[in-house]
């Protein structure tokens, strides 16, 4: 099995799709010569030329709208929104157009567009360049929302997103671009809407997304040493959500922790808690815990940034509270 970084895995999915399919192209701010602000598309201009690796003006609304238009015309564009904070500028097109057109045209139109974007704390980009805004988009009927946490998952899920006939908002996490992992020789599409159980356990289920998958796996190791067996589930697709896998896991362990980097309040985790309490009520032996960022803008100061976002220790503390061994 080859080993790829998360960044290379994204690029591999894009390039492979573009090689086999003329309808796939990418566009975004500084993605061509510069290779994107995170270097994901580096080298792609040389292979595919400026027609298919398109730099756009600094207008997220314009670039999102253009991508939607191309998708309606039968292309499969992948638009990169440099920071997910800037999804707020593209929101009109994504929320009011992309999400609605198939429905409002009675199925005459499809919008097979992917909005790739990235965010996350970890290198002090400040309050406007590191938010985790997935909760904004999982709230919109008509959008699919993906948030992959490993090289294998990001490649297989991006592939499925490109070939999905519906608009997909595809979140990547900045601090994951460098992590490496084995991937299958040939790209294997990963179905949208299917969670991954990263680690099996008996006592507590941790449902984690993005960076927190890795923090949770580390917390699980630690908990194991203290005699608590933890199952870690990554939904991978936030919308649609694989409720079945999550509920089955909680029915087995009777306890749950939801962990994401986004602020806890009104976050994606709240929906997961609701699913669990409703479908597994009689199996719960402790209140469901949530782990997320404090309800504050991300501070610029590195120490303060790290204080606001959750880490392994926060997940571990939540795990221990569910088994009655918290502080």
């Amino acid at each position: 099995m080859p080993e790829l970084s998360y960044r290379e895995a994204v690029r591999d999915a894009l390039s492979t799709a573009m090689r086999q399919d003329d309808g796939v192209f990418i566009m975004g701010e500084d993605i061509a010569e510069m290779g994107g602000s995170m270097g994901v598309t580096a080298g792609m201009l040389d292979e595919f030329g400026p027609e298919r690796v398109r730099n756009t003006p600094i207008s997220e609304m314009a670039l999102a709208g253009t991508a939607i238009g191309a998708a309606m015309q039968g292309m499969r564009p992948v638009a990169e929104i440099m920071y997910e904070d800037f999804m707020t500028l593209a929101a009109e097109q994504v929320v009011n157009q992309a999400a609605k057109l198939r429905y409002m045209s009675g199925g005459q139109l499809t919008v097979p567009v992917v909005f790739r974007t990235q965010g996350g704390a970890g290198w002090s980009p400040g309050a406007q360049h590191a938010q985790q805004l997935e909760a904004w988009f999982v709230h919109i009927p008509g959008l699919k929302v993906v948030f992959a946490s490993t090289p294998e998952d990001v490649r297989g899920l991006l592939w499925s997103s490109i070939y999905d006939d519906n608009p997909v908002v595809f979140f990547e996490h900045r601090t994951l671009y460098g992590i490496k992992g084995d991937v299958p020789e040939k790209i294997e599409p990963i179905p949208i809407g299917k969670a991954r159980v990263h680690r099996e356990g008996e006592d507590v289920t941790v449902v984690a997304t993005g960076r927190l998958v890795h923090e949770s796996l580390a917390a699980a190791e630690e908990a194991e040493k203290q005699g608590v067996s933890v199952e870690v589930v990554d939904p991978r697709t936030l919308q649609p959500l694989d409720e079945e896998t999550i509920v089955a896991s909680v029915k087995k362990t009777n306890r749950a922790v939801i962990a994401h980097e986004a602020v806890t309040r009104m976050g994606f985790g709240a929906e997961v808690v609701s699913v669990i309490q409703y479908q597994a009520f009689d199996w719960l032996d402790a209140p469901v815990e949530r782990v997320g960022a404090k309800f504050a803008p991300l501070p610029f100061a590195p120490v303060m940034e790290q204080f606001v976002v959750p880490h392994k220790a926060d997940v571990l503390a939540a795990i221990m509270r569910t088994v009655g061994r918290g502080d």
Binding site: F281, D282, A286, R321
Partner: protein, 394 residues
Amino acid sequence: MATEVKLPRLGQGMESGTIVRWLKSEGEQVAKGEPLYELDTDKVTQEVEAEASGVLLKIAVPEGEVEVGRTIAFIGAEGEPVAVEAPAPAPAAPKEEEPVETARAPEREQQSVTNGRVKASPLARRLARERGIDLASVRGTGPEGRIVAEDVERAEVQPVRAPVAAAPSGEVASEPLSNVRKTIARRLTEAWTVPAFTLTVSADMTRANELVARRRELEPDVRVTVTDLLTRVCAQALVRHPGMNVQYTDDALLRFPNANVGIAVAAPQGLVVPVVHNAEQLTLSQIAHVRGDIVSRARDAKLRAEDIEGGTFTISNLGMFDVDQFVAVLNPPQASILAVGAAREQVVPRDGELFVVPLMTMTLTCDHRAVDGATGAEFLKTIKTFLEDPGLAL
């Protein structure tokens, strides 16, 4: 004209009832079918629904014992006059509630109980419900004294109740009899006058236990118990031995077409025997489902009159309390009752070899006026055969 609310007759033989409390107050709107008051009869405590919609104009009997047919309240239009002299409640038992409350007080002082509500996780609640464990008797070890699943598991292993706070030394506590207690006393005294005989048999429960375990594996949500299997087995045996499914009256022997199997339940307010009706027609899972429902309602004092009427046979299982075997007193007017002990590993010689098998000892008590010894023995033999080879009872 305002509608008079009269004390209804909720079951055969009901002459009076005790109003525990009103669920609506005077002047409040009431819809037909809404629970209006709580009534304690000699069999159950239940909520009684309003038979008319309107404003609850007047509560004539706030609490206490009332004979059937007596007007206890008026429902009508706002401001409508009520032309009655409100009859004073019968003086017999107006204080019924208070002493009962006092008697329960020590239980409430345990951990995990706040304002009368037991703090327990949903899983702990489900386990307790399924296993027939009273959460009020379980000590919670979770955060803030919450009862968690582990506590219920532990309670099941050692079913030793926490000692109820003792009365001050030297004083005898006098507790007025509840209606349920009075009924138990009256009926069992009546049973004592019946000429009864007992028969005892032991059954090898190896295959029965396997069946129960397998059913739990297949249907973890239903959680079949040995009592369910016993219910099924007894119902089938009653069908095969119609001579057992009878009742003695002074001028006739009543023969019943269906096996309505009662299950003795130790409810907080005392012994009650909710009935699994037409048990001969129910599958094991259906029985488990019905049993789960009536037993949990028995423990919550939420049984309705129809839940405890019409029984033709009773099972009293004290196996969970580690009782080896015992003799049950008849549950009149029923003609027989089966007392079931715990299944224990015992060495049994068979064809010159020794085997260790789980043996369960059962004692059948029969009303000799209705049933002869041989009839009872044949019936008991069938139960033993069915338990040892449960496939035969399916």
